[in-house]
Point group: C2
Chain length 349, copies 2
């Protein structure tokens, strides 16, 4: 019996996680669920975005199914009380270091991309973003310098063990795909990037069968639009990965379809699974959200954390068939409600 921590969070999080739960229930797997508040919802209920009981549940669970956090109503709070502190806290406390974001076009949704069809059709990549270090978790603060001038600072840093660890993940994934790995940094300006590049080159010695290239982040932001089909596996740090993975998902066109996994260094099979779309407060509670990304995140969870490959494939197949059959939520140009989209997928399970 595996324990799943359900952390629905804010905005459309609860709606889409509920559909993922329905799909998992329908498969009658050996799972048990426990739910806890997180993000703005937890702040409202308990005065903090990541309450100790929520964290304890996440640590105890075999896997975490996460919705989304964030709402502009909390923007004025200090950073540690904002909803985002919950996801950052989970990454830090659970050593969630490998954020995997596949960006692929779902057959039938080729037109959703803002890119020209020929360019969009070629997109099939996975971004491996380090998510436990970098400027996110370095020393940071405010200080008042000479003459009372306010200053803000954040330290970017990586050490070789952090880089090697995520590089191995990326090379391993590349091996199971087209064996092309592109590592993205800004080594012409940053010392952190120079170390990153050196260590990735060293690790590549263990993976002679994978072709490694390096690209500067500014160029990568261009190439992602010009010809995203050139990428197979992308390896990058936390900050650049945040930017590039969102850009990539928009190039695909339907962020309502894209799942993600974040693996832990803490216990091999532990992971956090979340749709990459955010909390979308503007459409929350209206049944307009696309549950596919959350449902596909549940499939990633079955595969990576629970070794339930067949169930994972059944879910992915059902989503593909529902889309192929014309099921569309508003973000995909249709009019199905969140729940009706869930039904369409359940019908194909």
């Amino acid at each position: 019996m595996s324990l799943i921590a359900l952390l629905p969070g804010d905005g459309i999080g609860p709606e889409v996680v509920a559909e993922a739960r329905r799909v998992l229930d329908a498969l009658a797997l050996d799972l048990t669920f426990e739910e806890a508040p997180v993000g703005g919802a937890a702040y409202l209920a308990q005065g903090q975005p990541l309450p100790p009981d929520t964290l304890a549940l996440a640590k105890r669970a075999d896997a975490i199914l996460f919705g989304a956090v964030g709402d502009p109503q909390f923007d004025a709070l200090e950073r540690r009380l904002r909803p985002e502190a919950a996801i950052l806290g989970l990454r830090r406390e659970l050593g969630l270091y490998a954020n995997l974001r596949p960006a692929t076009l779902t057959p039938g949704l080729e037109d959703a991309s803002p890119l020209k069809p020929d360019i969009a059709r070629a997109i099939d990549m996975i971004i491996v973003r380090e998510s436990n270090g970098d400027i996110y978790f370095g020393e940071k603060g405010h200080r008042t310098g000479l003459g009372g001038v306010r200053e803000g600072f954040d330290l970017m840093k990586y050490d070789e063990t952090e880089v090697a660890r995520i590089a191995h993940v990326a090379f391993g994934i590349a091996r199971r795909r087209k064996r092309k790995l592109c590592s993205i940094d800004k080594a012409n300006v940053l010392e952190t990037s120079q170390l990153w590049r050196d260590v990735v080159n060293e690790v590549s010695g263990d993976y002679d069968d994978v072709e490694l290239t390096h690209m500067y982040v500014d160029n990568a932001a261009m190439q992602m639009v010009r010809n995203p089909g050139q990428f197979d596996v992308i390896l990058t740090g936390n900050m650049f990965g945040d930017i590039l993975s969102d850009e990539a998902s928009m190039c695909v066109g339907s962020i309502g379809m894209l799942p993600s996994a974040t693996l832990s260094s803490w216990r091999d099979t532990l992971g956090l699974y979340e749709p990459i779309h955010g909390s979308a407060p503007d459409i929350a509670g209206q049944g307009k959200a696309n549950p596919c990304a959350a449902i596909l995140s549940a499939a990633m969870m079955l595969r990576h954390s629970l070794n339930m490959m067949e169930a994972a494939m059944r879910i992915e197949g059902a989503v593909a068939q529902a889309i192929a059959g014309g099921a569309r939520t508003p973000d995909l140009g249709g009019s199905l409600s969140t729940n009706a989209m869930g039904d369409a997928i359940l019908a194909h399970l």
Copy 2:
């Protein structure tokens, strides 16, 4: 008599700067030119990418017309000897703090964009990138920590005077455009960004007629692809500006057309003008480069540094007419040489 420092640099830099020079000569303005080596070319000739004489010329000049720097043959050198150190050195030594990058579609080139035509046609923005601070110029280095573990670090920082200075530039530009300013940061994670946001909000008090919004950089990287027409003036820091401005220029589709200006805090009218395309070593010396971006950079120079508005407009008009008349270098799908494109523009002056 105004003195123009010509710094052609590497790769296609010399070819495109030569065409810009021809155009300026044809206008018979009261200009005098002095040329100096920079980047890899300077390293080969004098052992350093920004020789003292080149820097002295840049300081003495009324404006700097820059080509491009960079060549993979120098990748293994230490950072301070690489071609890129020249442009970074110029920015630091001359206080070049306001990097202005217009991204607009040239009529006739609508199809060049990888974006769908309806989305691309709406692009008309200018990115105001701070270029004299941030993680580019903070403390940086390597160190070996406990147990001999290598670590690389770079400090991101801004103080309020730096932010206020660039914010005033951006608000001033917005006033002369559609009065919409979008400031981009990562205030949900970075203290530097929180200060940035606070100060931009404070400065906005002086510009009640400009509508200010804030956006996170990851969302901005998405919106740039989804709907770039929503942006009028973008204000952002050095690191995020590097990434977003390249992304924006690729969304336009023809980076061979886009100029840039970088203004100095050191002397009001001083500025460095450069095409945003790089040195493109793969096509260097073959007469394949598009000189339009360099020529339009010369026009920006006349406008911002030399107060020669009419001459600037004549150049811009001639480029527009040449393109409208079907003149196309290979990057635009045509077969004109660099020189022949220069001729086509000269014919319309």
